[in-house]
Amino acid sequence: MFRKRRDADRQRVRIVFDGRTIEAEAGATVAAALLCNGVVAFRDPVVSGTSRGPHCMIGACFECLVEIDGTPGQQACLVPVREGMSIGRQAPLPAVAP
């Protein structure tokens, strides 16, 4: 769906999304990296029954929230990728037990 223009000298890093290893360009945001790898549904539906994905790409809409290295609620469009980063869909409901 999205393709990054070739930029041969850019270093590539590997990240894991939902157990699948994917390649991304160093310096890209998590959201850009996922989109370039064909991932558009970042989150399971919360209320509406439709999966959610990035909308604004500038940190305003909070539709791209993912879990990064175990921490939920991260804005994929603002966080740059890092080698070995593990990204997961976050649960529609957090663990609520006190």
């Binding site: 919360v46 909070f62 609620g73 409901l93 006190p98």
Partner: protein
């Protein structure tokens, strides 16, 4: 004709004005709704969205009754709005919980509810302090910092932004005319009614309803009514969206129809400043996470504030001008809760029927009782 074909002009297009204007239009009156522009102060665009009875009306059982009457009419009101406007205002009436976070708060709330309940007369005023297990069923994630929770079946909530939109749409679909950017400067009597001036413009109408929120005091003074209103700021925040969790709203947290958790709220005198302060937001966050510790794991997406419209005693004002018959004022806090009575009950009065006796205590004369020397 010198009323321009307007039976009534309603000044103010917030929840109060829009509810009354819709209520008049649905009964066949020709109504024009006059409003300011986008930058106006509008409590209706920043409130918490509770349709709430619990705890209201200490020292004024009529207010408890009025709130309860509106809450009772709300389901029919929401259904009618859905039909006329095509918009679902997300009304729910499954009850609500008043949570306390300290022994002192718990004592206060028990005393408050007992006092209101005992002054309620034959009014059906129900509440019950629930055992922990039942509270946790309604509000999963409840933390150990919660001391008590009182449940009332009268309470509920709605989406206040959709409500405002639905009222405007239903008003226009019922034949009403909406005039934004029409900041009223003066109201003058003429042969057939009133002439209302705004900037260089003017229009004529038979009767006038002043429902201009914080602008009401100034307009009411023009027609000899003393209806002082002061701004009381409330700051709020909303978290990221999560799957439906809470069965009912509480005084601290309300889950919106979109899934976000709205956390409330402050009550401060900050003049007309609609900013937010990080120290106060921190207090809100702290109270809410004490009640629901899992909130620590959620992102806050947005913070904002809005100004409540407060009368000196906190109760609504409904009155007709002694010097300008046919000019009415309606000003109050809790315009979401009272939207149903504003749409279904108040229009009879502003169409010329006498004010119902139980609403007589909301006249403005209560503000100028002479103090004994």
């Amino acid at each position: 004709m010198s009323t321009n074909g307007n039976d009534v002009a309603v000044i103010g297009g917030g929840l109060v004005g829009a509810s009354i204007a819709y209520g008049l239009a649905r009964k066949g009156s020709r109504v024009v709704l006059l409003d300011e522009g986008d930058i106006a102060l509008r409590a209706s665009r920043g409130n918490f969205g509770l349709v709430w009875v619990q705890g209201k009306g200490r020292g004024r059982p009529e207010y408890a009754q009025w709130s309860l009457r509106s809450a009772t009419l709300w389901s029919a009101f929401a259904a009618e709005l859905a039909e006329v406007s095509g918009l679902d205002v997300q009304h729910e009436n499954k009850g609500g919980v008043l949570l306390t976070l300290s022994e002192a708060e718990d004592r206060q709330v028990r005393a408050l509810l007992a006092e209101i309940g005992s002054s309620a007369g034959n009014m059906r005023y129900e509440y019950e302090f629930l055992p922990r297990a039942r509270l946790e069923k309604l509000l999963p994630g409840l933390g150990p910092g919660v001391i008590s929770g009182s449940y009332s079946p009268h309470d509920g909530h709605a989406n206040p932004l959709i409500l405002l939109r639905a009222l405007h749409r239903a008003f226009v679909r019922s034949g009403g005319r909406y005039r934004p950017n029409y900041t009223v400067d003066s109201i003058r009597g003429n042969a057939d009614g009133y002439r209302i001036e705004a900037g260089g413009e003017a229009l004529e109408c038979g009767r006038v309803v002043i429902a201009a929120g914080l602008g009401s005091g100034r307009l009411a003074a023009l027609v000899g009514l003393d209806a002082p209103t002061v701004p009381v700021r409330g700051q709020l925040m909303v978290t990221e969206r999560i799957a439906p969790l809470f069965k009912v709203p509480s005084n601290l947290v309300r889950q919106t129809g979109e899934g976000g958790l709205q956390l409330g709220y402050t009550a401060e005198n900050a003049g007309y400043d609609t900013g937010v302060r990080s120290d106060m937001l921190r207090d809100i966050a702290w109270r809410c996470r004490t009640a629901f510790p899992f909130l620590d794991r959620l992102r806050v997406l947005r913070t904002w504030s809005a100004l409540r419209i407060m009368t000196p005693d906190g109760f609504p004002v409904y009155d007709e001008s002694p010097t300008h018959p046919g000019v009415y004022v309606a000003a109050c806090h809790s315009g979401v809760t009272l939207a149903a009575v504003h749409a279904f009950v108040i229009p009879d009065w502003v169409s010329g029927r006498p004010l119902a006796p139980e609403l007589g205590c909301f006249r403005t004369e209560r503000f100028n009782v002479q103090e004994a020397a």
